[in-house]
């Protein structure tokens, strides 16, 4: 997996690390059970403080996507094939999505373009077959 960050960008580095790993899991490049580098190793490779990587990994652990162990290191805990998310998670996510879509609408992005962007992003994710068929077969679920 290639993990790309912008050290001088406006988004905090730990957030960028978290976001890239979530994208890799969704894209099937980092499936459940696969290992990630240790915090120290990833800190060396990115040239950032290891506390920064630790913070990003801890976010993923809190979200249930990563398992951190002394012996096993950092391992991806779940992916799209691991079944439905924990109860209540979808509601929280829908709230955040609403805010994100509202940003696009407030900035004047046409609804058709917002839908197109969403479809393009979904096309990059490795959904289980049944879900992917649902998206492609019945049009847009959005």
């Amino acid at each position: 997996m290639l993990l790309s960050i912008e050290p001088d960008g406006p988004v905090p580095i730990y957030q960028q690390i978290r976001d890239r790993i979530v994208e890799a899991i969704a894209g099937g490049r980092q499936p459940a059970g696969s290992a990630l580098p240790s915090t120290r190793q990833l800190a060396v490779d990115l040239g950032v403080n290891f506390h920064t990587v630790n913070k990003g990994y801890d976010l993923l652990r809190q979200e249930g996507l990563l398992r951190l162990g002394r012996k096993s290191g950092a391992v991806v805990r779940r992916d799209a094939d691991s079944g439905p998310p924990d109860p209540g998670w979808a509601q929280d996510w829908a709230g955040r999505l609403r805010t994100l879509l509202a940003e696009a609408a407030a900035q004047g992005l046409p609804a058709a373009e917002i839908v197109r962007e969403c479809q393009a992003a979904i096309a990059e994710f490795a959904f289980p077959d049944a879900v992917a068929d649902g998206v492609n077969g019945s049009g847009s679920p959005l």
Binding site: M1, L3, S4, I5, P7, D8, P37, V44
Partner: protein, 359 residues
């Protein structure tokens, strides 16, 4: 011309020539230690300064080699010329760097560019293996030296007389030869081990392919470094054999002692020129993996004079060198100072033993 003068003149010539061709081994995106975005690689100032550097350093090599030939008296005198030669080449490097930096800053080369740092996690989950087997020749030479020394030692007089008539303790000479070999072998293998654990030198815009190229570069370069260690140990073995009166080289034949080291320098230079820094001259395109958006981060502020890396926020002990091929220590990391301290402490130990032995 005596053997000392010959080897001294050749050292001046080879060191100067290597510094002259050093820009040819570097990454295209790093010109004289200055980070350059891809769309500026063909900038006129870069072409002009590269040309000027080659001409200037070639003139330095010619002048210094001519001076070494003219002196033709003593090996140590000719080797002293290395100092002004090195200083003159450094001035040429800094002049080129200063001019490229001035244009870069004036034209805002990185303005509007998306600067990224990329890590390839496969480097850690599927790490390259240190070539332990390539350490065997160096260890075999050390073992052979110990065996020959142990066999010769009892039959030698308490003090050995060198070619210049000085009397040296046979214990000190024997210890210095073997300790020198162990020092070289440990230094080369230890530093390469650190490099294997360090960050790979990859390009953000072509991360997957450049990781592949770096793997091949590291494999080739580490084998070359361990071979150089074996060759340097061989030179010390030859010195030991001479001091233990196994053979007595005479005339120009004394220069043969330096032949293994010279072969090692030639080998390492050839590998560096063929692979380029970080494998930049190797083919290693990865099909099916798109290039990342963005360019390498402009990190010039962490490089003093384009040569010395000081970044306190970077936990890496070693980083890829910006000029020529190889690696350099991150002086912003306390562990780097421990390594430097260890290297110099060992040197100090050798000097103390040498002084006590009257060398």
């Amino acid at each position: 011309m005596n053997a000392g003068s010959l080897s001294g003149t050749l050292t001046v010539l080879v060191v100067g020539a290597l510094m002259c061709v050093a820009p040819a081994t570097g990454r295209p995106a790093l010109q004289f230690g200055v980070r350059v975005p891809r769309d500026r690689l063909g900038a006129p100032v870069i072409r002009k300064e590269r040309r000027a550097y080659y001409w200037r350093t070639a003139a330095v090599v010619i002048c210094c080699t001519a001076a070494a030939l003219a002196i033709d008296s003593n090996g140590w005198v000719t080797r002293i010329i290395l100092l002004p030669e090195f200083a003159a080449n450094l001035v040429c490097f800094l002049a080129a760097r200063r001019k490229i930096t001035a244009v870069k800053n004036a034209d805002h080369w990185f303005a509007g560019q998306r600067q990224t740092v990329v890590a390839d996690t496969s480097w850690r989950t599927d790490p390259p293996r240190f070539p332990v087997r390539w350490l065997v020749p160096a260890l075999a030479v050390v073992a052979a030296t110990v065996v020959v020394g142990a066999l010769r030692y009892p039959g030698l007089p308490a003090h050995l007389v060198t070619g210049s008539g000085r009397r040296l303790s046979k214990t000190a000479v024997s210890v210095l030869v073997v300790a020198g070999q162990l020092y070289i072998t440990t230094l080369c293998s230890g530093l390469m081990l650190i490099v294997y654990r360090s960050r790979p030198d990859i390009e953000a815009a072509d991360a997957a392919a450049s990781t592949l190229r770096y793997r091949r570069f590291l494999a080739a370069y580490s084998r070359a470094v361990l071979t150089v260690a074996a060759l340097a140990d061989t030179t010390l073995l030859l010195v030991g054999l001479r001091e233990w009166q196994v053979y007595a080289p005479a005339g120009p034949g004394r220069a043969l002692l330096a032949l293994p080291v010279a072969a090692g320098v030639l080998l390492l230079s050839t590998v560096a020129l063929r692979t380029g820094q970080g494998g930049s001259k190797l083919n290693g395109n990865v099909r099916g993996i798109g290039r990342a958006a963005g360019c390498d981060r402009d990190d010039d502020r962490f490089w003093k004079a384009g040569l010395v890396y000081v970044n306190r926020d970077d936990p890496s002990v070693m980083a890829a060198a910006r000029f020529g091929a190889g690696w350099t220590l991150n002086l912003g990391n306390p562990a780097a100072w421990l390594i430097i301290g260890g290297i110099f402490a060992a040197w100090a130990g050798f000097i103390v033993i040498g002084v006590l032995a009257g060398i």
